[in-house]
Amino acid sequence: MKLITAVIRPFKLDEVREALGEAGVTGLTVTEVKGFGRQKGHTELYRGAEYVVDFLPKLKIECAVTDEAYEAALEAITAAAATGKVGDGKIFVVALEQVLRIRTGEIGADAL
């Protein structure tokens, strides 16, 4: 199993969720994050004080998938989240040793 972590533009959430759903992923967990990267920020000005804001609002999506669903999930996210402009985000993949469903105690792929 893999744990896919994608950092995306906030307004793409619904599209990504739908795309993942079509790719067979039925659960995911979303976190509001701030991202720093190539995408340029903006300046804010409060009376005399000017600040450059480099950290931009992004959403982080985590979803655990089976090895089989993995490729499809990656493609789904990429397709749904891309706009082609700097700042579209990244996907990180790590190996998942174990998954457990708290309610039932099921483990492994059954728990997804």
Partner: protein, 447 residues
Amino acid sequence: MNSIQTRGWTTRMQAAGLPLSCALALLGVSTGALAQAPDAAAPAFDSGNVAWMLTSTLLVLLMVVPGLALFYGGMVRAKNVLSVLVQVLVVFSVVILLWVAYGYSAAFTGGNAFFGSFTDKAFLRGITPDSDADGLPELLFVVFQSTFAGITAALVVGAFAERIKFCAVLLFTVLWVTFAYLPMVHMVWSGEDGFLAHKGVIDFAGGTVVHINAGIAGLVGAYFVGKRLGYGREAIKPHSVPFTFIGASLLWVGWFGFNAGSALAADASAALAMINTMVATAAGVVAWSLVEAISKGRPSALGAASGAVAGLVGVTPAAGSVGPIGALAIGLAAGAVCVWGVNGLKRLLRADDTADVFGVHAVGGIVGAILTGVFSDASLGGTGLDVSIGAQVWAQTFSVLFTIAWCAVVTTLAILLTRAVVGLRVSEEDERQGLDIVSHGESAYEK
């Protein structure tokens, strides 16, 4: 006793021409109108009436900032809340200056049935602290009325919030106030010769002048500005219903200045307007909540707050002439009908009127205007009509239709001109990022 100075001022005005005198006036030069101390043989104004009108004036300000600003600001997304607050505040301020410059003059001096004179009392010339307007200091009447102009213009901005350019709002406001608001005031409130006053319309505190007028402008504006990105697909929720609630509450509180202040005195008529406003608003809250509870299963906070505003809008034209039970009926009707205004009717109209300026202010205003013709009748608890209920309802309906037509035309022209000169909408990317950062360089909240 100010006549010589005033006349001298007049002469200089005429010699210099308006533009120059405006500039001079702004620089504070050559405005000799107030030369006498107010207490030198001043007329005795009734202190109780003055006290109430001072209070009423600040109450209407309270309705705008923070009232209306929060009411609208809570309904938009967090990335646009400051843009709404700025728009409301700056629009109001610009209109106050415009009112002093030529608005008061154009609304309340002689002229024809549609407009007063743009110059007679421009920059309030000739008005001293002692000037009397029906028993009140004229300056007090000027400032009280200035807040009405300001709030009406501010009401409109709720309709195209979250995507409009700030400069477009300002240009549109100046055009719209000049050609839609000022003539409406003149037609209804400037005296017997005003076009709609002459038709016999009853509009105590501004059902047509303020609410229908603003509501129609909002609807037409929303059409031209177009829908928000993601409208109907993404979840576009109010970012702070408590702010909207605070706003609605302050609208209610301030509206007593609006309605009872329109009696222009602290008398029995103001007392009547007071209780009517209280009862109609409570009825609006109950009606909206009830309709929501029945039709959707759950009465909401946004609904209850909206019901209060609907009740307030409904009773505005009626406050001085119906009885408390009439006010109750109007509040119930306005509350119930406006639920439809922001649901069924809104879907029908297919405009993205962000804060439902049309659905609440125009719809509630129309309900109120027409029912005013009914419940003002003595047989229904009102203070009495000069004509039959039927005739009065027709006068009210005519005024409503006329207001809609006039306002729709002016709004269309004003918005087309604005679009031509500065454009209406920010870019798609800017809209995504939010107007607060893009147009105003700030974020509303920081943790």
